[in-house]
Symmetry: C2
């Protein structure tokens, strides 16, 4: 933590006076008291971004799914399990926020019914019915008093089409796209930033370093400056 705080001295305070709310990690959608549906998100990118935002001078609230990463210095973390729980925590943290960054890989679907007791194994095939979860980021972005919203898209192919499509559909000023195979779960990543001015690829780098690149791009957009292409 001392190293983190020292490092922070050398980061430009481009988010000073701003409040940032982020989500990170996977969600866990219970099937029964033991089993559930989740995804391979490690939370590392979201935690790295929370840390970078704090180092850039922001007040940071990190709404985190179930991961076992340490809380970055200067960040207030609240934890959530399911997408519905995460949605609740986000809306509780939102008042006064200037920026919302949806990094979490929120489950798109949850089981329609949660079994009260552990489902016992049988030799039979089992069917699970899933129902769509609310889209937290789209909901935040659609508010009258919406903060500056940044989305994330992890795709297994056709990154540009899916990522830019997602950005426009949700009405986001900025979106960070990456290929699942490039970074999900790992320590490094290759990302492309999408905004109204086009696409801006960042060089492959450790997530901590990418986080500073994303924050600096975000701060320029937030200040109303044209980003450097």
């Amino acid at each position: 933590e001392i190293v983190e705080r020292l490092e922070g001295f050398f980061v430009p305070r481009v988010l000073a006076g701003r409040k940032v709310v982020l989500t990170a990690g996977p969600t866990f959608e219970a099937i029964d008291p033991v089993r559930g549906i989740t995804n391979i998100s490690s939370g590392k990118m979201g935690y790295a971004l929370a840390r970078a935002c704090a180092q850039a001078g922001a007040e940071v609230v990190l709404v985190s799914g179930p991961v076992s990463l340490p809380v970055p210095a200067g960040v207030r973390r609240v934890t959530a399990g399911s997408a519905l729980g995460m949605r609740e925590q986000v809306f509780a943290a939102l008042p006064g926020a200037d920026v919302f960054i949806g990094v979490a890989a929120v489950a798109d679907y949850r089981p329609l019914e949660v079994a009260e007791h552990k489902i016992k194994k049988s030799g039979e095939t089992l069917e699970i019915a899933l129902t769509p979860n609310p889209d937290i980021l789209a909901e935040v972005a659609a508010r009258q008093d919406a903060p500056f919203c940044v989305g994330f898209a992890a795709e297994s192919r056709d990154l540009d089409a899916y990522a830019e499509g997602k950005r426009r559909r949700k009405g986001l000023p900025m979106l960070v796209g990456n290929l699942v195979s490039d970074g999900m779960g790992g320590d490094e990543n290759t990302v492309v930033l999408y905004d109204d001015a086009g696409r801006h690829p960042l060089p492959r780098a450790p997530k901590a370093e990418l986080a500073h690149g994303i924050v600096s791009h975000l701060a320029r957009l937030l200040d109303g400056c044209r980003p450097q292409a």
Copy 2:
């Protein structure tokens, strides 16, 4: 690691000359390149037991599902993702084993089909068809040359009935039962040991401490002595 090795000096070497194969953690059954079904197992009990077995003098192979715990001193860890992958690693590690302990919360079911690309969200309800996974522990216990097999049962109710039923059905000399609400995912647990002589509750304790109690019971059974009731 130095502390672990020092601690090891004070543990009776009741498994000296024995080879122990254990499984630990959850498995992850892919739905698509990002999503999957898993469970709330943290791997802590399995890792604690692997450590206790090594401290008791055993050669230990730990077949671990996806968790981010450090490898205990003196333990060889191999990693697995799905139940099918874990089964393969267990059978590769089994030759020469005196003891097999199935601590992992192996998924009972896996998706019948794994989507090659990320399933896109739609507004519709989704059905996932699941098919039963092989029962690794029952398969190991049913072998002609089966090692001494220890099972684990995490139940949400009726512990005695489910646990002892599981022990008899799979033909296990020993099974460790616990209630999900008591310990799964956490650092402490309350367990009951089941064997041919009956049920033996252990006092609630940190998992590291429980592990030594389980090893000592196991070693007595393995040596053909009647366990202290």
